[in-house]
Amino acid sequence: MADGIIALSYGDLVLASLLILLNAGLSFILRLRLEGQLLIAALRMVAQLFLVGLVLKALFAIVSPYLTGLVALAMVLFAGREILARQERRLAGWWTYGLGTTSMLMAAMIVTVLALTTQLQPDPWYHPRYAIPILGMILGNTMTGIALGLNTLATTIGRERVAIEARLALGQTWREAFGGVIREAMRSGLIPIVNAMAATGLVSLPGMMTGQILAGAEPMHAIEYQILIMFLIAGGTGLGVLSAVLGGAYRLTDSRQRLRLDRLHRTEEG
């Protein structure tokens, strides 16, 4: 497989970076005022990728279950922060971060370990060359799903307050009263992966599959991997969205089946 790779030199990268400078130049001339951000983002990307490259290189050399687990945990915690950053309205206190992170941890771990111990079976099963990239792909998508699901839950419950309380006041259970909102939140968390599966191959060639092909893999091998990954992502997203949205809904009611909007973080409009 490695025979097919065309290795890049630093000179090649410098040449490609001229495109970024060209963009920055355009931004300056057209007064988009994006040139600063653009250059900083490009530099960040380079630095972050170099660091990741070094970390992965070290991890692959050591193949330690503890170090691999530690890196996996760090990835989950960063993803949890990203979920928090994507909320227009969140649960008061640490609940959004806690729910998002634990749901993601549970879903991504179950699915990743399942794939590593059954379909892929590298030796050892926790080999970081497989564990880390697969976890990363699952995590990225599960994170998006959970962020959307939790955000929809919080904003919709805030918006539908009068209707939900009308149902509760008429003696309906919180399950009946919250049902529509919970379904809407779950749907919004799952739609991206459904759309991604529907568009894959026609509109977009997934990055992982493209990467394998560039690295010299047989196209048929690459698509098999891609299909596996998409199933894993869908499974992880489903589990993660389910547990995060249900957890959030539980948090917004109590033992007397009230609507506890006081447990949502306050916003300017109340």
């Binding site: 539908e160 009068v162 209707a163 939900i164 309380e165 009308a166 149902r167 509760l168 006041a169 008429l170 003696g171 309906q172 259970t173 529509g180 109590d254 007397r256 089946q257 009230r258 609507l259 506890r260």
Partner: protein, 202 residues
């Protein structure tokens, strides 16, 4: 029948109240006095402390939804969760009769909620609550936004319920209306019970 002892929330000082069967009590006070909070606390819609019994049975003994079907709160702003009016009502014969008594046509069930006027919404929400046949009604400004004819119709229906032994606690800004329905009035101010007044009329 309904006994309330030291009912309180973080924004409401303790209130005691006994209401007998068939009794109506008015709740009055400036806005922000805690009238709505008081009714919501009785229905257990906000966290609250204190003891409430209905026919001698403690509130905590009932699951919250069951309690709210017996002690039903009707908010000032009606809530709707489906597009069609009919989706908010049970499918039985009592609905048509109830709408008729409140001066609404049964055709209203086929309408969408979006086309209802404020007054129609208010009366439909009242019909929805009355159909549960609760023992206690907690009504938050039940006739605001209604014209005089509709107000009279609603009051007639409420009086019929009182005659059947239902207790009513209702918030109003109109003292004349209070006196038409109730013999007692609670005056709330700044989250506390300021005074209780007995009306001789009615």
């Amino acid at each position: 029948m309904l006994k309330i002892a030291a009912l309180r929330t973080p924004n409401m000082a303790p209130i005691d109240l006994d209401i007998g069967g068939g009794e109506c009590v008015a709740v009055m006070g400036p806005s922000g006095a805690g009238k709505t909070l008081f009714l919501r606390a009785i229905a257990d819609l906000d966290p609250n402390e204190g003891a409430i019994t209905l026919f001698g049975a403690e509130r905590g003994k009932f699951p919250a939804p069951k309690w709210r079907r017996m002690v039903t709160y009707l908010p000032a702003e009606s809530g709707w969760w489906a597009e069609r009016v009919s989706d908010h009502f049970p499918k039985d014969g009592a609905v048509g009769e109830m709408l008729d008594r409140l001066g609404l046509s049964e055709e209203a069930l086929g309408w969408t909620v979006a086309r209802l006027s404020t007054g129609e919404r208010q009366r439909l929400a009242l019909a929805r609550a009355l159909l549960l046949r609760p023992a206690v009604l907690l009504l938050d400004e039940p006739t605001s936004g209604l014209d005089e004819t509709s107000i009279a119709t609603v009051e007639k229906v409420l009086k019929a319920r009182l005659a059947e032994g239902v207790s009513i606690l209702f918030v109003t800004h109109d003292e004349r209306q209070g006196k038409r329905l109730a013999k007692r009035c609670l005056h709330l101010k700044q989250g506390r019970l300021e005074s209780e007044e007995t009306w001789q009329t009615a």
